[in-house]
């Protein structure tokens, strides 16, 4: 574990922003922290970096106890804030230099890292321009870049793609994968399930200040949906076909009306293929779909609410 939060409680007046939160971050992974607005993601991140005090619980980073006065730990951590917090009155390169400098980089070392980051975020040609002239996507990229100059071991990204176009979003998601591939551990906070599905090795789902589920994407989905629903249109339906499908292990129920088959099968049993093989022997498949559950369903099942209650996204 590169970092962990145990039983962390943080109150704001009557609000339990963190309600006995447990979070484990393994070295080298991209951990997705998924939760709706107000779930406590930002609060969790702030306490992990030691920016706010906690009421109780224990936070460890790099094996050390984290706290608001432990500034030295932060040298190896990077924060990408939810809001764009670069300096609009300074150029892109000046922003990167300043943030690198804050983390103790100097001289040639600073310059080479600034150059590397400019290339990485695709702003080399715009290095001398001020972010006020940038598009939303470019500003977001600079906002991320400012946390990369000092090569943090642990990078924490708080909803880094809010309010940008799909192309910039994909660029950023790809970048996050590259950052992780170079050995940086990433905590990626979002309320877009597509994003965690696309890039995260492991996912913690947060709601009301707690982690309500944790695991890999497949584990989380498997945890709530033990069944897949397969819908198939057979070319030549017959009782023999129905019997053969029922004989496939893991198939729990088969209902037929005309050409339409609805088959309930254990999740991830690989039965889609087997059912197709069987049906091909009996004259072929016209159409087949399997309803896969997604994280939205997981959240819905666990909380009875939708991840995004209307509004944006």
């Amino acid at each position: 574990m590169i970092a962990s939060m145990r039983n962390v409680v943080k109150r704001y007046g009557d609000t339990m922003a963190l309600d006995h939160l447990d979070l484990n971050i393994a070295e080298g992974e991209i951990l997705g922290l998924l939760g709706p607005n107000g779930a406590g993601k930002t609060t969790a991140i702030r306490s992990l970096i030691g920016l706010i005090s906690i009421d109780s619980g224990e936070i460890k980073v790099f094996g050390e106890s984290q706290g608001i006065n432990n500034t030295s730990i932060r040298r190896n951590m990077g924060l990408v804030t939810q809001e764009i917090t670069v300096f609009t009155e300074l150029s892109a390169i000046e922003n990167l230099r300043y943030f690198g400098g804050l983390y103790g980089l100097k001289g040639a070392d600073l310059e080479s890292n600034v150059k590397r980051v400019l290339e990485f975020i695709g702003l080399t040609e715009h290095a001398k321009k001020r972010p006020s002239k940038f598009s939303g996507g470019m500003q977001r990229r600079l906002n991320i870049g400012c946390a990369l100059v000092h090569r943090p071991k642990l990078l924490i990204m708080d909803e880094p793609t809010v309010g940008i176009d799909p192309q910039s979003r994909n660029h950023i998601l790809e970048s996050v994968k590259l950052i992780a591939a170079e050995g940086t551990t990433v905590v990626y906070t979002t309320h877009y399930m597509e994003e965690v599905q696309a890039i995260c090795n492991r996912i913690s789902i947060m709601d009301s200040g707690r982690v309500i589920a944790e695991g890999t994407l497949d584990e989380l989905i498997g945890r709530i949906h033990h069944e897949d629903t397969i819908r198939m249109i057979a070319a030549s339906p017959s009782d023999a076909l129905t019997e053969d499908i029922k004989a496939v292990s893991g198939v729990k129920n088969v209902s037929v009306s005309g050409n339409n088959y609805v088959i309930i099968s254990g999740a991830d049993s690989g039965n889609l293929n087997r059912i197709m093989e069987v049906t091909i022997k009996h004259g072929g498949v016209v159409n087949i779909t399997a309803d896969k559950s997604n994280l939205e369903d997981v959240f819905l099942t666990l909380t009875g609410r939708k991840l995004r209650d209307g509004g944006e996204g």
């Binding site: 702030r46 920016l51 500034t71 924060l79 804030t81 917090t85 009155e89 400012c146």
Partner: protein, 265 residues
């Protein structure tokens, strides 16, 4: 040092800030001196060949602006620490007090340069006389520090940036106008208030220190016509006022430290 440079640069690259804080007072000195000299029958009063009008007006405007420059502190503090940029900056391995100290250093440096610029322009272009460069510079530095500490206090106590900046500006007016040195000639009939505005305010102390270090001669006597009127050359008065101004600044700094411990901001 790196952080101080950063803040200094940001004060320097803001065109509106430069216009209001640097260009405007210089312009104000020019206009005021020209208008006043032209209005004088028989021309400007000269002392040892220097313009008395330009000297007093430039000094007054320079000092008045120095006392407003707490706005630098307020501006930078609010821009960096009263919004989510705060978290990004504090996530770096630097403490809040380090940032605040750096903002203060940068703002003091910027204010002092502005003050020196105003006086230099007045001396070169308007025939103003810099009585005693050492005293003048020292007083500018002390007021600059005072104003940044004041700006810090205001930032801690007031939630709205606009209000905080207005307080810094008005603070300067409230010290200067009742002394009768600026805009209106005021004769307050309450002795204690007269003493307060002519001797005790940081403005009066600063002005007395600069004026008392002058070579304008001993002819003008001390009176309640405002701190600016004091033109006797008297280094001990200059030093005394510099001393009390420093003490006032230290006192204010202590208050700020106490307030900052009680408030989480």
């Amino acid at each position: 040092m790196m952080i101080t440079k950063h803040y200094f640069k940001r004060l320097l690259v803001e065109p509106i800030g430069l216009a209001i804080n640097v260009f405007f007072p210089v312009l104000l000195v020019f206009i005021n001196v020209t208008v006043n000299v032209n209005a004088m029958e028989g021309g400007d009063t000269l002392f040892s060949g220097y313009s008395v009008t330009a000297t007093s007006i430039a000094t007054l405007i320079m000092v008045m602006f120095q006392f407003m420059y707490g706005t630098h502190m307020v501006d930078l503090f609010f821009r960096d620490f009263k919004n989510s940029r705060r978290w990004r900056l504090l996530a770096a391995p630097a403490s809040l007090s380090k940032y605040l100290f750096s903002i203060m250093m940068a703002s003091v440096f910027f204010s002092v340069l502005t003050g020196v610029l105003i006086m230099a322009v007045a001396a070169i272009a308007l025939n103003a006389h810099v009585h005693n460069p050492f005293v003048l510079l020292t007083v500018i530095v002390i007021i600059a520090v005072f104003s940044q500490v004041f700006g810090m206090l205001v930032s801690l106590l007031i939630r709205k940036k606009g209000v905080a900046e207005a307080v810094c500006v008005l603070f300067s007016f409230f010290m200067i106008v009742p002394s009768g040195d600026f805009l209106v000639t005021i004769n307050i009939n309450i002795h204690a208030l007269n003493v307060f505005f002519n001797y005790m305010t940081p403005y009066a102390q600063a002005m007395r220190a600069i004026m008392a270090s002058g070579i304008m001669g001993n002819s003008v006597s001390d009176n309640f016509g405002g701190a600016l009127q004091y033109m006797g050359r008297d280094m001990s008065t200059a030093l005394l006022n510099m001393g009390t101004l420093t003490a006032t600044t230290i006192l204010l700094a202590i208050i700020v430290v106490i307030v900052s411990r009680r408030r989480s901001f």
